[in-house]
């Protein structure tokens, strides 16, 4: 099996940010994303999805390292201060690497 390494960026944030984060993700070069509904707890308290205002979303983006880095930096700078949000990045092996951006899978630059 011929694989290449890419980054999997996972963002968990309040649902009301979804549209904005998606727009940012696409603008910064990601070619796709996957969203699941979530709830949770963090520094900003319990978010239990019982109703609109308190739901989270979990957004996953597979992309090359520079894109992941750009998105992560952008989200931190624009949303961390005022919104419920965390993000983390992991290495994953993918099959059709060209789908996820040109960059080789070097560690975060």
């Amino acid at each position: 099996m011929q694989t290449e390494t890419r980054k999997l960026l996972t963002v968990i944030c309040e649902a009301s940010l979804e549209a904005r984060v998606i727009a940012d993700v696409e603008r910064l070069g990601a070619r796709g994303y996957t969203i699941t509904e979530a709830r949770g707890k963090g520094g900003r308290g319990v978010r239990d999805a019982g109703w609109d205002r308190s739901a989270n979303v979990r957004i996953e983006v597979v992309c090359d390292a520079p894109t992941a880095s750009a998105i992560a930096t952008h989200l931190r700078d624009h949303y961390y201060e005022h919104f419920a949000m965390i993000l983390f990045v992991a290495d994953v092996e993918v099959l059709r690497a060209e789908k996820f951006g040109p960059g080789a899978g070097r560690g975060l630059p």
Binding site: S16, A49, G50, W51, D52, R53, F83
Partner: protein, 315 residues
């Protein structure tokens, strides 16, 4: 005979289950469903009535009501900012919540009056729609001042195209276009089930109210007091306005209740986007944890009793 209203008892059941930490919850899809039905039903009913009213009669009332929506947050802000020492953004955001209205509270007062056979101007949902907006604009201006960076276009979209406003306005327009006869075939879902659906909604609201108590404790006594005292003041203003506009007694009670209610649908969404530095827990804890229960359980009967004094002839 003073029947205990079962619709309100559902709210009490929700509160009790929440306090006892039951695992009872409405699944969020069901909560959405129930909310959509309420919003559409309220809109449809108002629209049907609207189709019967000459605009010339309504226009001045509408203007006056918008004026109230602009005034209330301007009254709330200094109390919150100076007396309560809340940060500017927080004070402005809470002021916007209290200047706007709660559709759930409207549904309860409408059910309350109809259960007691008290008539009111059925086009009131128009005021519900109108009151959603002005307080948001005032709140944003209070928080950020008037400047070009406000992206009013984008904010307008957030405010006018949020699903709550779309369903309420959409229902209003459909009711208005179709008329009483036209909406009759869909009445079994939207009108006959209304109180049952409202009961389910209030069950969940009781659970939500309790879940706000933790946040409320952190907010301190000032905010809890504000969440009771300011609505009383607003009810006075709303009731006075209703009386001055020549509304029926029922209509005056409704307008007092609308003034006293605090938004938890359109405003939180708009404020989150426009004034992100405001802590949303504060306004929600006050609106949902204190003001909503207060209005449902105590406020509405109180405004009703007060209105009776204003209208000695009963209407």
């Amino acid at each position: 005979m003073n029947v205990l209203d079962p619709v309100v008892l559902f709210f009490v059941l929700g509160v009790a289950a929440g306090l006892m930490r039951s695992d009872l919850r409405l699944p969020s899809a069901v909560y959405d469903f129930v909310t959509m039905l309420l919003l559409l039903a309220i809109g449809l009913k108002g629209g049907v009535e609207l189709s019967r009213q000459p605009l010339a009669v309504l226009a001045p009332q509408m203007l006056a009501v918008v004026g109230m929506g602009l005034l209330l947050p301007l009254l709330a802000y200094p109390v919150l900012h100076y007396a309560g020492r809340l940060a500017r953004a927080d004070a402005a955001s809470i002021a916007a919540h209290y200047g706007s209205v709660s559709v759930g509270t409207y549904a309860v007062v409408a059910a309350y009056l109809s259960a007691r056979g008290v008539a009111f101007e059925e086009y009131m949902p128009v005021f519900v729609v109108l009151l959603e907006m002005p307080a948001i604009v005032v709140g944003i201006l209070l928080a950020r001042g008037w400047n070009a960076q406000n992206h009013w276009g984008e904010l307008g979209r957030e405010i006018f195209l949020g699903k709550g406003v779309v369903l309420l306005t959409g229902g209003l327009l459909i009711g208005w276009a179709a008329g009483a006869e036209g909406v009759q075939p869909i009445g079994a879902l939207f009108f006959d089930l209304f109180k049952g659906i409202l009961a389910l909604f209030l069950l969940e609201m009781g659970l939500i109210a309790v879940s706000q108590l933790g946040d409320l404790r952190r907010c301190g006594l000032f905010l809890a007091g504000f969440a009771i005292v300011f609505p009383l003041l607003s009810a006075l203003i709303g009731g006075g306005l209703g009386w001055a506009l020549g509304l029926s007694m029922g209509g005056t009670v409704v307008l007092a209740t609308l003034a006293a209610s605090a938004s938890y649908i359109a405003v939180p969404a708009a404020m989150r986007m426009a004034v992100p530095q405001a802590n949303p827990s504060l306004s929600l804890a006050a609106a949902l944890g204190v003001t909503f229960p207060f209005n449902i359980l105590i406020g509405i009967p109180l405004y009703h009793a007060a209105a009776r004094l204003l209208y000695p002839d009963g209407a």
